[in-house]
Symmetry: C2
Subunit: 248 residues, 2 copies
């Protein structure tokens, strides 16, 4: 049995998230991927994702693994899968792994980006890939606020209510903001993220940018561990899973 790791990108606009749903009428990335892999291998393929992404959320470097007895050479797998996948899902790379590799359990670091389009009118080219903030933002304050998320903390205050998780401690290795023209991009790397965590963090930073909060408030909010005190959850389309790192 081969254990194959895939690195893939997808435009999440037309999907109900990564993970397979009970309602089969809701199209997901996992459905499409498993269907394509089943087609090319003639086996019943099930993939393990590094984690779910919500409806409308994108990925540049999602990772999955699956087991198969296919004889397709590893370097030919991306082209073979892409030939049957819809064009909004693209496999970049396939790698042969040891039997114990698991895309979710072996993940050591994940990097997400959240993009804001900060100008009066929203460019039509960014309508599915950024959140529109039409008012001026104090970027230097937002950068200071972002730095305050770095560290190992209980992020209970930055997690959506509806979660099954009980351990809210996560380590954020880096959290930076970059501005390029009207685009404002948060890049955040951590050992894991709670449900809606990046969207709540960016929502809090936008409120800092609007001078409704101060950069130092981030520290207070982390200590408070109260979701109600943190910023709003920004919409999904600005979020993108950039990469997943492994020790393997």
């Amino acid at each position: 049995m081969r254990n194959i790791k895939l690195t893939l990108a997808y435009d999440g606009t037309n999907y109900h998230g990564f993970q397979k749903q009970n309602k089969t009428s809701l199209k997901t990335i996992q459905d499409e991927l498993e269907k394509a892999l089943t087609t090319i291998t003639n086996e019943n393929i099930v993939v393990n994702g590094s984690g779910r992404t919500d409806a409308g959320v994108h990925a540049q470097g999602q990772v999955v693994n699956f087991f198969s007895i296919t004889k397709i050479p590893i370097e030919r797998i991306p082209r073979a899968v892409n030939s049957v996948l819809p064009p909004d899902i693209v496999v970049w790379q396939a790698e042969e792994m040891l039997p114990d590799f698991h895309a979710r359990f072996a993940a050591k670091k994940k990097t997400y980006s959240y993009t804001i389009y900060n100008d009066r009118e929203l460019s039509p080219f960014w309508r599915y890939y950024a959140y529109h903030v039409p008012v001026p933002l104090d970027i230097s304050k937002m950068i200071k606020g972002a730095e305050n998320f770095v560290g190992t903390y209980d992020f209970h205050g930055f997690c959506a209510k509806n979660t099954a998780v009980t351990d809210f401690v996560r380590t954020i290795f880096s959290c930076g903001l970059e501005k390029e023209g009207p685009l404002l991009k948060l890049t955040i790397t951590g050992n894991g993220f709670l449900y809606n965590m990046v969207r709540i963090i960016m929502g809090t930073l936008v409120e800092i940018g609007k001078d409704k909060r101060q950069p130092e408030d981030v520290v207070t909010l982390i200590i408070a561990k109260n979701r109600k005190l943190s910023g709003v959850t920004l919409p999904p389309q600005g979020l993108c899973l950039q990469s997943v790192e492994y020790d393997y």
Copy 2:
């Protein structure tokens, strides 16, 4: 009567080009724009575009003008139109012009870009905005080829057959290629462009990049004035009308 100039962007993916069609079932940018302007002014608005763009072609800076007796202050017009336009069409700016300004006849320079995604697999995020070339390209040869388009020439050999135009002389002021990661972007400025001209120029440059032609061949092709000898017409989605310049 006010003469109002609009600068606008659009994602051409879901439209049958800029210009109104006889078949009213084919949705165009002009239709949507006129409908929106008619709604906000309560007049029967007709717009003059700087030129048509084909189905699937995009614009970052298309220009139109229209006449109206509306009392809406000029700085409020973009927000007002955008509030009724679909999100794939966005007006950036409105300007009050003299009565003789006409978006097409007064245009002095136009700049187009054509974007190629040059990597083995096409990113899902560029599927509607770039043409995919999966094989390696010799960029330095393409840059040399591009330079050979600069000048005042009869570009009959770089014009689609089905055109009503009789004067094929155009001046190209600049024609440059830039590479950024997998993206290869042609930026070309001229006093006007023939039908499919940019798409045929980029098609020829790709053939130079594949070493099927040499940069010097561009000179020969211009002299030949024979459409059959020039490169293929690339698909519309890579093309974008970047800006239109006026003396006004």
